[in-house]
Amino acid sequence: MKINYIGTVIADNLSELMLPYFQDMVHAGFPSPASDFIESPIDLNKYLIKNNAATFLVRVSGKSMIGAGINDGATLIIDRSIKPSHNSIIVAAVDGEFVCRRLKTKPKLCLVAENKGYKPIYINSQIDFEVTGLVTSVINQFT
């Protein structure tokens, strides 16, 4: 299936983000009968957000998670209602600051970066640590 038309996007309100799409290619001079039937529009909200009340967006600063495909300046979608487990990518408050890391629950509880230049953060009683939420998606914008 090809998508060959993307509608105008209103960007200041995610819930208005509806992209109508056509299921068939439109050939010049030969209108497909199917193109009369616009399918229900794609709603990025529905696709990316399962629990509206618990979902927050945050912005990434730095390259600590570059190996996981999270670029500097990316937007993360985090869902606070999903319990993270071993290997989840999470946002956590560590000593009063938000970080994005991969959670390791074994052999020792720690947060690891996806970048050789960053040391793992081992969670012990001296560190003020709280999981904020699970990262469900990343939006890397190229333009």
Binding site: A11, D12, N51, N52, A53, A54, F56, L57, V58, R59, V60, S61, G62, S64, T75, L76, R80, S81, V91, A93, G96, E97, F98, V99, C100, D128, E130, T132
Partner: protein, 419 residues
């Protein structure tokens, strides 16, 4: 039969902490519009002796010196966090009444048999806390009034779990006895005095009073309270919010205003906002009141005045209100005073459909031309584009919010940063 009152702990201050983990366990206060008074305090700030409503300048130096954190109010952000909390409650119980920005009643009759009242409350508290970062108290009782009392007792007894379920008579009586009548929902200061003169000092004593006597000596409203204290449901969950009876827009100014024209311009802004709100609620108003006052903390002469203007029939046209304000303000304005606050109130509402024709139609009214207002409202829906000429368009900065936090959840450029 169980009702829960879910009440956010120091709501505005808690919001400010959600995206500032560095503020955990630090004193946080939030100031009113224009940084005038303290309107929210974290527990730590309360412990420092910062009182609700205290003028900021009075406590500022001491509070900051002791390491306190302060924010101007960020209502766009608080509104979004409130929406999240209310959505969660609504998804848990279909019978939810949003009582204020940080409080809601839930009817969960039927569910309590499965999990028990206390556990239900605990689940509510944990879910809201986990999903939004906002701590809540959950008071549970057979009636709304008792749920309110449970919530009050959580605060008073400083219950660590922040959940109290009054689901048996022994616990109810204990809570009632420990609740002064002045703390009962709907009992104001005057009623409080009258009751204590009659020898009724706590909620338990009031609950023993025969309802018929209370109705005779006080009011039918208080009779209902007595019945509710006895577990008889008189106040239902209102899941449909009743239409407003009045709209008030008032602000204190960052800088004192003495000039009539400037005052008029600033008030016109309030009028435009109030009229927009009025139209969005499909109401018409036939009375507008204007008030102005000097600061009670100003060493100079003090003055305050309020005056109403009545239309012969209801209107929702901004221009009608602007006309009325200009006339009314000119009557109450006195030169040489340093005005610190002004406001307007629209009242005497009636639905748009029902408008009685008057014999004496005012010559200046614009009633036939409500299309114009509709067009302006549509254009202004997303972004301010059309102004009335007499409005304040950035010429004066009447509002001061120097310490406002980012719009973390409603603006792309203000998203919280993670490293």
């Amino acid at each position: 039969m169980s009702i829960a009152l879910v009440d956010c702990v120091s709501f505005y201050a808690s919001c400010e902490r959600v995206f500032r983990p560095d503020l955990k366990e630090r004193p946080v206060v939030v100031l009113s519009n224009n940084d005038g008074c303290v309107i929210a305090r974290s527990i730590e700030a309360k412990k420092m002796g910062i009182k609700m409503g205290v003028p900021w300048f009075k406590v500022k130096d001491r509070y900051i010196r002791k390491g306190g954190i302060v924010f101007s109010s960020n209502f766009a952000f608080y509104g979004d966090m409130s929406r999240r909390v209310m959505n969660i409650l609504d998804s848990i119980s279909p019978k939810t009444e949003v009582y204020s920005i940080d409080e809601a009643f839930l009817d969960f009759s039927g569910t309590e048999k499965n999990v028990g009242c206390f556990n239900f409350g605990l689940q509510l508290k944990n879910t809201v806390g986990r999903w939004t970062g906002i701590p809540v108290r959950v008071g549970i009782g057979p009636t709304k009034t008792l749920a309110k009392i449970a919530s009050y007792q959580i605060k008073k007894r400083n219950i660590k779990s922040r959940v109290l379920a009054l689901d048996n008579q022994k616990d109810i009586n204990q809570a009632l006895e420990a609740t002064p009548v002045g703390e009962i929902w709907g009992v104001g200061r005057r009623l409080n005095r009258k009751l204590s003169m009659a020898g009724i000092n706590n909620a338990l004593q009031l609950s023993y009073a025969p309802p018929q006597d209370i109705r005779k000596r006080f009011s039918i409203v208080l009779e209902r309270t007595v019945r509710e204290l006895n577990g008889e449901r008189c106040l239902e969950i209102e899941d449909v919010s009743p239409t407003k009876k009045q709209i008030v827009v008032s602000r204190s100014f960052a800088k004192k205003i003495t000039n009539l024209e400037v005052l008029n311009t600033v008030i016109n802004d309030y009028v435009v906002r109030a009229a927009e709100k009025l139209r969005s609620e499909k109401q018409k108003s036939s009375t507008i009141s204007v008030f102005i006052r000097t600061s009670p903390f100003d060493a100079g002469q003090s003055y305050r005045a309020i005056k109403s203007y009545s239309f012969t029939y209801p209107t929702d046209d901004t221009r009608d209100f602007l006309y009325a304000v200009r006339k009314t303000l000119a009557k109450i304005y006195k030169p040489n005073y340093r005005y610190s606050k002004a406001g307007i109130m629209l009242s005497s509402f009636s639905d748009i459909g029902y408008v009685q024709n008057s014999l004496f139609r005012e010559s200046h009214t614009y009633k036939m031309n409500s299309k114009l207002m509709k067009v302006i409202d549509e254009l202004n829906l997303n972004q301010k584009q059309i102004y009335i000429a007499s409005q304040n368009i950035g010429r004066f900065k009447p509002i001061q919010r120097n310490m406002i936090s980012p719009k973390y959840t409603t603006s792309w450029i203000d998203l919280p940063v993670v490293r």
